[in-house]
Symmetry: C4
Subunit: 208 residues, 4 copies
Amino acid sequence: MQPETRRVEGFSDAVFAIAITLLILEIKVPTQGQDSLVDLLLRQWPSYLAFITSFAYIGILWINHHRMFSRIRKCNDVLLGLNLLLLLGVTVVPFPTAVVAEHLHGPDRRMAAILYNATFVFISLAFQALWRYAVSRGLLEEDVGLSAKRVSRQIMVVPFLYLGCVVLAWFNVHGSMLVNLGLTLYHACPPRLVSERISSSRDSRPAA
Amino acid sequence: MQPETRRVEGFSDAVFAIAITLLILEIKVPTQGQDSLVDLLLRQWPSYLAFITSFAYIGILWINHHRMFSRIRKCNDVLLGLNLLLLLGVTVVPFPTAVVAEHLHGPDRRMAAILYNATFVFISLAFQALWRYAVSRGLLEEDVGLSAKRVSRQIMVVPFLYLGCVVLAWFNVHGSMLVNLGLTLYHACPPRLVSERISSSRDSRPAA
Amino acid sequence: MQPETRRVEGFSDAVFAIAITLLILEIKVPTQGQDSLVDLLLRQWPSYLAFITSFAYIGILWINHHRMFSRIRKCNDVLLGLNLLLLLGVTVVPFPTAVVAEHLHGPDRRMAAILYNATFVFISLAFQALWRYAVSRGLLEEDVGLSAKRVSRQIMVVPFLYLGCVVLAWFNVHGSMLVNLGLTLYHACPPRLVSERISSSRDSRPAA
Amino acid sequence: MQPETRRVEGFSDAVFAIAITLLILEIKVPTQGQDSLVDLLLRQWPSYLAFITSFAYIGILWINHHRMFSRIRKCNDVLLGLNLLLLLGVTVVPFPTAVVAEHLHGPDRRMAAILYNATFVFISLAFQALWRYAVSRGLLEEDVGLSAKRVSRQIMVVPFLYLGCVVLAWFNVHGSMLVNLGLTLYHACPPRLVSERISSSRDSRPAA
């Protein structure tokens, strides 16, 4: 592994790890009041939904980022810049998560859900830009040529799917949140299947 | 060491490290008031108890996670997913810790202690799932076969022990917190003894 | 790569990663009120401007720090101390960022912008001290001798540029923030061009 | 380097890095009020003093921790436990730092300064326990035998020095804070001189 790639991965891992861990800070600890703690905790369910959705999203994005970089052999300044754009999206996630947690009950829930889903459109666009740049500049390992195209086709759809969530949020707030969570969990799969085919063709090589 | 495993460990280490360090943010700094600082600090003892218990738990869990991954040779997507489930539990810890710190004085202390102990049931189940999966799919080093079964037997008890704490919390809140802390400190031992036997049989090999 | 340098990089990377991720915590989540969420979110634009500027600054500083250390072969205590001084500047960034976010609307905006820009003067001085020390003590790789002088000349100007922002803040607060952001984005370039020349002369060597 | 030691260092580095970066969160951003921002910022000087002192302490402790572990060749469970005890001290630092920042003006400044200095007594005891254990169990590299004793003698004094600060805090609060900062900066030196002698004898060996 190139030292160059190694340190980019280390920095990215740390940013992913911090963003995923900071999410918990947005869940408020109910103070003693007139209602029982159980009631207070249950009333906070939008916080838990938003937390789980964002946690799953960042976690699975990390797996895919990890997978992508394990295919990247060379690194240049534009790639670093695009990676920074992706990390910008990742570090922002705790903010819309907190906005949804705060407003999913209230009159502004529609706007909160739109903001939340729009964040994921941005991130999936940045992810795509990163992958496409790496492919087009030949920064990948040489033997992933064919599979790379298949991955490109697959991840091309993702921003449109989250854009669909943005539109859905206008009509059905809770529906958009659930579809978003479903998309994220589904994401754990398709690129995985493809990359497994990649890695099986890879494992047939002598050694990594 | 496989680069694949290396980066999973790096990401997990960062999540553990952040979760363990964020715990301190939940301890409130007393502002100047009518009471003396000493009184205010002493009155916060539930915060310190919860902090120490959670710190010890995450720290010792890290040691065991570290130990487990030092035996894992291969990595696949399900393992990554299960590891993410474990990390979900770890990042959540600051929340029940803060709930206990806030409510161990108050009328809702029973519910706070149940929530706290239940978190550890979840984490120990996730830890077990991770280990069992790695064993059943042959992702471990080959020479830990026999010891692996012994470890499996040992960690099978752990969720039941913390479940005992959940039940105990219903009858005796402070008792459940102390038993929890005791369990954690005890945890530092049994898997250690086993793994030392593993590592001693390991050290007899030429080189790592 | 020397293990010594490796661990300094790892520690620095973590500090950069945490500082860049903590920035988001300074953006306040609007609570439900009389105004609509959209209005409340839009009214917070100074927070977003400050967030983006600081994110870009820390991100690009990380790239340059990364680049600098990839040229450093030896490490000593003074270098560690100077690196710590640079990291002091980096960890401080969330504070002036929050000050600007809070006061860019208010009567104290001039002072907030001066504080913000002054932080970057400090950091660029620390960066320069680090580089100059490494050059003067021969801690660099041997084949970057000529290029090193060019880099030294280039980064000598940087503190003066941010000092210009400090002065500009006295006359035009918003102007100074925009020039600051412009400078940061421009920074992504010039040292890059130089270092690309370095790395191209480097790539012509057999292997890293 | 052993992979075992490598991951302990990685985890420790992350904890140090997070603790040192979280310090800035304790500095409050003055909100708009009757007084000017400059007045409000200047009135917070105890926050800055506490921040700088704690930053320098954690930073220099990291350098020394780093230096210590670069001499440690083997790792066992007790060492991991003692290291965890040291990290407990490190993660706690933001709390007494915030207490000092809050109370250095007020009537409880004496107690705040005692708490602050006592934290450093605890940490230096944990550091010493770690080092002594590593020496006594032969976990160090073999060629540091003589120098190890010298280091042991030197760091034996440290807890007493910070204990002196605790006592001094009873009589002179500000004095104890300044002596504490002085001690920390001085710490950057003596172990350094020794370890330089170690590393010079080390550099004379063929290769690391």
